[in-house]
Amino acid sequence: MCERAGIPAAVVVTSVFENLGRTAARAQAYPDLRMLVLPHPMESRPEPEVRALAAARFAELVGLLAESV
């Protein structure tokens, strides 16, 4: 919806849901939707580990948003 409104969007998923994300993106006619894939699972990780992961991958996420689809 953001992309349709002209706002760059990227989806963050954990690895086991990558294929589901691609399926959903194709179903919404956005086969090239930008997607950042993180390790799975996320819920049971200690918060410092999640924060470290976010810090390490944030630039990649910004880079995805800067790409043209």
Binding site: F17, N19, L20, T23, A24, A27, Q28
Partner: protein
Amino acid sequence: MARGSLVSEMRAVGDDPAAVFAYVEAQGWGDGFPVIPPTEDRVQAMLEATPLPPAHVVGVVEPRRGEATVEKIAINAVLAGCLPAFFPAVLAAVETVCEPRFNLYAINSTTCCATPALMLNGPARQRLGIECGYSCLGQSARANATIGRALRLVMRNVGGSIPGAVSKSVFGQPGRVSLCFGEWEERSPWPPFHVRRGFAADESTITATCATGTQDIADIWAETGEELVWVLAHSIEWIGNNKVLVKQEQGDMLLLLCPDFAHKIARDGIDVPTMQRMLLEWTRAPIERWHRAHWPKLEARGYVENGRVPLARDPEQFLIAVAGGESGHHALYFCTFGLTWTVTKRFALDVEASAGEVCELPAERV
């Protein structure tokens, strides 16, 4: 007379049922059980049971957002072994689970073993031969088995809910083959479920609720209705319950009472709203049930209230229906996945269109 030409691709496989079964499995269209070959004649016979044209889109099935046309649903209903008379119920089942409130996207993609459970009410139960009593959730009647199975095949073949690839359900569950039954209204002390939801008693409805399993609740001790509701409440608030993972105001859950339990509760003056309030109060689990390390996490989500973790916020999140055999001693709980709401829709049986092919139940069964 055909209701319209079919647009689905025809494949030549041959007459041998074993060869057709093997072909369907090889294509990834099946569920591991034998199928009825969906020949054009059989699909057309299914289409005769509805006034809707084959191209009519009944629902958009998540997560692939496939368009479930009447024709595609008919093909899957034949595969599943449905009689044409069952077809209106299958169409209604697909329409019901495609309601956004049911959240089929989540159910068909989650790591949980959630699946739709279908409950029929009204005259369709007798007309289709839906079992409401003994073993109604499994190994009882063709209508129960094949209507539920047809829905599952539609979710797989139209909705793309392929285990592993799209559906991330860790275990799946037997109810993901079929889970369909009727409320035994005639053995209930209360108005039928669909009447309590605003439908007329003589209307047929189908209800889709979410089931992460079929949790048995046994009791031989309770002498009063109040004791029995206590047993029910404390049997459904275990800490690994998927419902506990989501906001308490989110989602509803269906509790099936066997006729004996329902009459024991009603005999003591407990009606459905009263039982719902009792369930709400008695499913507020003490936080000591959880590991101490988890208390801050529950607190941070706002799940803790005066040292207790409620299962729900509103009494009406506890749905009650009556089904199962008359041998007593058991209730059954469909623990919800949480991010979903039960949906009920009415449907009509077009008996003329189904060429009178209905299977009446013997009077003593319903």
